[in-house]
Each structure stands twice: as structure tokens, then as C-alpha cells.
Amino acid sequence: MKLWNRLRYWTRWPRPDNDLAEEIRLHREMLEEQFVREGMSRPQARTAAAREFGNATAVAEKSREQWNLQWLASALKDLRFAWRLARRQPLLSAAAVLTIAFGVGANTAIVSVLETVLLNPLGLRHADRVVVARVRIDKIHMRHVQTSGVEFREIQSMTDAFSAVGAEEGRYWTSQVSGEPTRLLGQGVTPEFFRVFGVYPALGRFFAPEDRQSVVLSYRLWKSQFGGDPSAIGRTLVLDGTPYRIVGVAPADFRFPLANQVWTSLYLDPERLHRRGYNMSLWVFARLKDGVSVAQAADRVNRYMTGLNMEAEGYAGYGYGVEIDPFSDYVAGNLQRPLWLLSAGALVVLLIGCANVAGLLLTRAAGRRREIAIRISLGASRAQILRQLLIESLLLAGLGGVAGLLMAAVALRAATKLSVAGGDWITLVTLDHRMMLYGFGLALASGLLFGLAPALQLLRESSASSLTRGERRRFQDVFVTAEVAGAFVLVVVTVLLLRSLWAVESVRPGFDDAHLTTAYLMKPANDAGFFNRLRDELRAGPGIESAALTYPVPFGGGELTSTFNIRNRERRPDEPEWHGEAYIVSPEYLHTMRIPLLQGRNLEDRDTAESPLVCLVDSQVAQRFFPDQDLIGQEIGMYKGWARIVGIVGTIRGSTLEDGSRPVVYYSRAQVPFFPEVGIVVRSSVPAVGIIRQAVRRANASVPIFDIESMEDRIGESLGIRRLLAVLLSVFGSIALVLAAVGLYGVAAHVVAERTNEIGVRMALGARPGQILTQFATQGLRAGIIGLACGLAAAAWAQQWVTNMLFKVRPFDPTTFLAAAAGVMGLLLVAVWWPARRASRIDPQRALHYE
């Protein structure tokens, strides 16, 4: 109340000061009147009134003072003083500001990313109450896969745990957009889907249970295709040649999935609702009932699943279950752990920065003991001194915060242009006001953190009669120890990840990825000759070396995985089911990709729909199932029954470079028909994008083509998060290292400066420079070595967070630990070497004269 009244006083305009002056003038006039009434003459009365009233200015002054926000005024005074002080030592101030700026910038940027993905996924309201239900099948090592209709029905019936349950199935169609044949991305959704996310239509309505062939437009499509015209409702949109009635438009901020353009109503026929494991293509999302936690819901589902008679459904012993996870898990996917790792790294950098700045200020504090002592003896209270010292550090922190926010803004602008597999949401990341507030608060908090220790220490030193130099040293040692430990942990984690990255990058995918351009197109309906025409068009293109059709495109984001059997071969009872990848290709595929044919023959034009089913397998199948037998002529069953193996080809890695353990089977497109999406791979000596577009248009002008990318870019995207993580952690690690070294250097240099005298005496008494050097070097290194030991322990503990990101590097890799320790140690040595050498070169004469 008081504060509020005072603030109001200060913010009012015109200033209340005028009120006061006016009031006092009035008072005097009234007194004057009174005296006149009592019989004085006017001039007499005026003098009397003036005498009676006393010093009007003093009264006004005293009255005004009542309003003063004293602490604010003196805080401003302190701030000015702090600013002058900071400018007097520009180097130290700049170092402090930059250190804090980097820590704050990194933290703010990463928390902004976390916010978009994990804390408030995709900006959807109340998404923290949404969960995803995903199937796991332990026996074939499958986790987090889509469900069949049965699980959807079951979860929908659990009304005690969920208030709304919706299912979604990925869809795509060919449609005319702006006169161009285009692939539209969308989803088929059950009526309750939108209710799960708590969204309401921007226009029209969402689906009713009886809706068939109805479509809801995304806000973006509605704007671009219908110009935002409300009369779009009720019109038709042609998808794959079938008319759909437009019933509604989704709100602009409903961005899930990100690239979604349309939603259609999803009808699940009775077979899908009652055959478990049949057509597992549904993502099931549910809104938790009020008061139900994620764990409780997961437990509820789990109890139901374990109570089922899986034997009757044919899944006994499969370890078939349904997992309930927060929606943020679904959005972040594999990136969740790297993101947390980065935020931890950024926090370590900020803390090291705080310790460093605290150490710097501590050094400066030594020179200010006199000043503080004088001020205290002149009557400054300890609280005033503390406030002034804290304001000094808060000023540095505040400047650091502003600079840090700028850094974060720049970093995020760069980050949103990154292309990371599974990270398309990154375009949504923005630095909004809440994040800026967070960053600035973080800066001020770190200002308090790094300001408090030196301030308290300085106060104690100044008021104590004896100088507690040892205590200050202990403070500094603790800071250096912490810095070295933190830096070491970061270095170890970074080196582990860097080595993994190098190991992954050196993996060859098994085909020649240079000069390959890839694209997807939609298979046209009723055009039997299309693929042959397309092949001829592509072949005729200038600079095209060879071209082939395939589904899927390696590293193209999709894969055909399936269980398979081999004729006359029984699985051991304890063996997990055999699982492999399939490719449907044209005969030119091996040649275009430069995958070696090791044995047998390639797929050929004589393998047609009428001839017996044949296939190629990769050498893994040969090694695993037929180590000392001829594979050619054996039969493998994956799609469309038994297929005779006619050739063996080299092993490739088709989805990630890390994992190439799954056997691969190739079918001919003539025998196993393509799905609606078909991939093209083209090897060319010239850029092929335009040629591919033209060839497709010539072959059939109504065929949309999309997702054109070079093979190298595709592989790069699969490594994106690894590279990003390695780069960012390297930056964090280097900064932490430099900070630790600077911190150690600062302390050592300070010690030497402080003891110049003593060294001079000892030198004069006959101490050899070598002795002095060793003594100061070991003394300085002590804190560093303790820090290194702490860092070792901490790194051993912390590496558990990265074990699943390691590739061909063991967690307790001795090389990494030794190399990191040696590197850090070397840097620390350099850091103490300079001050120690300076100590050993002190001229006794000058040192003694110095006093």
C-alpha cells in the first residue's frame, strides 16, 4: 500500500510538488487574512504570516522528503557508481559481461527450443493433458509403433481414465492446387480427434460420426486455395479424383502435424476394430480425465492389457502391450534426450561463467578493501555496502543478460533454418516475451550468485581487524575447482559424442551417394504405361547417367519392414522373429545406386507379373542363414508368398548409418506393385532437379512430384542431430575450458602479485628461481587437480545420459578419459605457468623497493 502510494506519487504528472507549493502559499495567505482581520495592516500581516509560518522552503522540502523512495534514489546512485567503476576496468567488465552473455544466451535459446517441443508442445493449449498410446511388441524389438483399431476401441472404452480419445491415420492425395498437380498431406481422423486437443473450428464444424467423404481444411490451405472465403464451406475438394465436401476449417494455431493440409473423416470398419494387429497404422491420442495422471492412465491401460487373453488373439508370448506417454514424447521423439543434454551443457557453462566472474570480482575485491573500510568507518552500514556491491554485480549481469538475449535471438534465427530429421517443429521456435523474461531473470539470478560471495567476503575482510587472506584464497580455490570439474565433464561428453560422430560419418552406406538426386511422385491412376514412359524420358535427359524407380528411397524417411520366413528353415524357439526391410525396385536400381551384385543375376525385364516371384537378398541374409550353403534358389517369404532368391547383393544401410543389421530383400516392381508413392533415383553429372520435373511432366502432366533432394543431403539430415549436438557441445566445452583456464590464471596471477614482497625477500635470502617456479606452479595447480578428480567422478556419472547416442565408442572409454584429462591438465599447466614464471623472475631489489 505504502509502496503503491509512493509509486503513484512519483509517476503522477503534473508533479504533486506543485500541489504542495500551492497549498503552502494558500496557507500563508489565509494566515495573512486572519492577521488583517485581527487588525494588522497588510504589510504587517504579511510579515507576521511569514514569521508564523517559518521557512516555507524547508517545510516543502521536509514534506516532499516523506514521499521519497529513499532506497530507490540511493540505488540509482549506487548504479551510477557501479557504472563508473565498470568503465574504469573495461577489460574485466567486458570479460564478465561476455561470460554471462554467453551463458544466458545459450540457456535462453535452448529453453526456447525445449518450450516449443517439450514444455508446451507445438503451442497447443493444454497439450500437457494429452497422451499418446503406442504399441510395443517385445518379441520383435518394436516400440512406439502405431496401433490397430482394437487398441483404439479399448482405450476409448476406458472412460474412467480418458475424457476424449481420437485416432489419426496418415494420408496423402493428389489434388489440383493452383493449377499444379500436388500431393496433399493430411490425416484421416475419428470424430473426437479435435476434442482431444481442445480445438474449435475457425469456421464451420469438425466431423460428426456419420460423416463420410467430408474434409476439414487447414487454415493455411483455406487461405491459399479459397482466399479465406467463408463460402468455401459446403464446396467440394477433389482428392484422388473423389469429391469431398468441405465442412470446416481448423484454427490457424492448430499445427499438428506441422505440414498437415487437410483432415478427412476416418471410418474404421468392424474388421479393423476387432482384429488385433491388423492394419497397425493408427496414432491414438487421448485427453486425460481431470485428476488422472499420466502414470495412472498408463497403469490403467497396462492392467487391462495384461488381463487380456492374448492366446485367443494369437499374440501369446509376443510381449504385446500398449504404452501411454505424454504428447511431448511423441513430438520430440529421439530428439528429447539430445535437447535435455544441450540444456544441461548450457547450464554448466552458465554456472562455470558465474564461478569465473565471482573469481574475477574476488580478485578485484582485494584492491577495494581500503575503500570499503573507509566507507564503513565513515558510517556506511553493512547493508548499504552489501547493496552497493550487489548492484555492481547486478549491473554486469544485466548488461550480460541483454547481450545474451541478442545472442539467443541470432542463434535461434540460425537454428530455425536447420534441417534435422524429425525436427520440422524447429521452425516454430521463437524467442517470445516469456523467454526473454526468463533469460533476463536468469542473468540477474546469476548476478546475485556471482556477486554474493565476493561481497560477503569483502565485508568480512573489511570489518575484521586481521586480514583473512587465507579465507579468500579458499573461496577462489572452490571456484576454480568447480570450474575445472564442470569443464572436464563437458569435454568428456563432447569427445565421446565427437568420436561417435566421426565413427558414424566414416560408415559407408553401401552405395555411392555422390551425384544422386532423389524424389518422390504419386502413382497415377489408370496409366499402365506411365513407368516405362518415365524411364525413357529420364534416360533421354541430358547428363543423366542412369535412373531407376524404387520404394522406399534410402534415407527417405519411410521404410518397408516386415517379418519374413525362409522355406525349410525353422526359427529356434528362443529366437526373436526374423525381421527385414524390403525394397520394390526397377531392374536399373542396382546399377544406378552402384550396389554390387555379388552372386547370381539381377532382376530383369523377364521377371513379370506372370512369371514366378523372384527376389534379391543382401549378403547379410547369406551370412546369417546360409553361411556355408548356396543361397541361390532358396525361397524367402515376405510379401506375396514365397519368392525364389536369384541374386545376392552388397549390404546397404537404408534408414540410418548407425544401424545396418536388418536383412534386405529386393523385389521387382513388375511383380510386387508399387504403393501410391514411388521414388526416383537419378545418377547424373549435372544438376538433375529440373530434368526430373520435366521428365515426369512429359510422361504424365497430372502426376505430382515432391520431396526432391540429393542423396547426400538426405544422409546429412539423418546425421543432423548428431552434428548439431557435437558442434554445440564443442562450443560449450571450449568456452568452459577457456573460462576454467582463465579462472585459474587469474587466481595464480593474483597470488603472485600479492606476495611479490615475500618472494623478493626469499630470493634475497638465496631461494633459486626454479624453487619459486615449482612452488607457485604446484600451489596454483592444486585446485585444478582437485577439480579434475571431481570432474572424473562427475563425468563417469554423467555419461549415462549419452550412452544411447554413442556409436562404436564405449562409455568408459579409457582413451577419451585419458585424452580429455591430459588436454585439460595441459591447459591448466599453461594457465599457471605464466604467473609462476613471473614469480620466479622477480627482481629482489625491485620487489623490496616496491613497498
Binding site: Y9, E23, H27, M30, V59
Partner: protein
């Protein structure tokens, strides 16, 4: 306390308040202008009184102070303390 008490009789301006206290105390208490105005500012700060410009009976513009609910509460509590103190002093004086 005296100023607040005066204000319970209705809003008044600084001159009026000083005059009133002067009159009621039969000239015994004379509140100096040097302490009246700072005191009034304190009342405003604490929210015990409000001020606004008005017209006096002699048709001049003056700043009128008005007691607030919080001011009445404060006055009651101060009066209690004061009465208690006076009673205590009186006892001591009588016992001697």
C-alpha cells in the same frame, strides 16, 4: 493522531486543521506548519487520508484532506494506545 482526529469532523484544508487544533485545545497546542505538512504527507503515503482540491467558504481554491477507512482504523488504534498511556501515567502520578 491529532490531525486524524480533526479530519473525523469532516474534510478540511491544512490551514483549517491547524486552526481547529489551535482552537479546540484552547490555545494549548499549537501545531507548527513545519510539522503539519510533513505529517499530512505521511497520512497520504500510508493511505490514511486522501486529498483533493476544493473551494473554501471564502471562495478560494484549497486542498482538502479527507480521512479514509484505514485512517479511522489507525486513529482508533492510536487512541487506544494513547488512552492506555495516559491512564498509566496518571496512575504513576497519583501513587506518588
Amino acid at each position: 493522531m491529532l490531525v486524524l482526529k480533526t479530519l473525523t469532523r469532516g474534510s478540511n484544508h491544512g490551514y483549517g486543521i491547524a486552526q481547529h487544533i489551535h482552537r479546540v485545545s484552547r490555545d494549548a497546542l499549537r501545531i507548527g506548519e513545519g510539522s503539519l505538512y510533513p505529517a499530512l504527507q505521511r497520512l497520504l503515503i500510508n493511505g490514511w487520508a486522501e486529498a483533493e482540491w476544493g473551494i473554501t467558504e471564502t471562495n478560494r481554491k484549497a486542498r482538502y484532506y479527507k480521512i479514509t477507512a484505514a485512517g479511522r482504523k489507525q486513529l482508533a488504534s492510536e487512541a487506544r494506545t494513547f488512552n492506555f498511556l495516559v491512564a498509566a501515567i496518571a496512575e504513576v502520578m497519583e501513587s506518588a
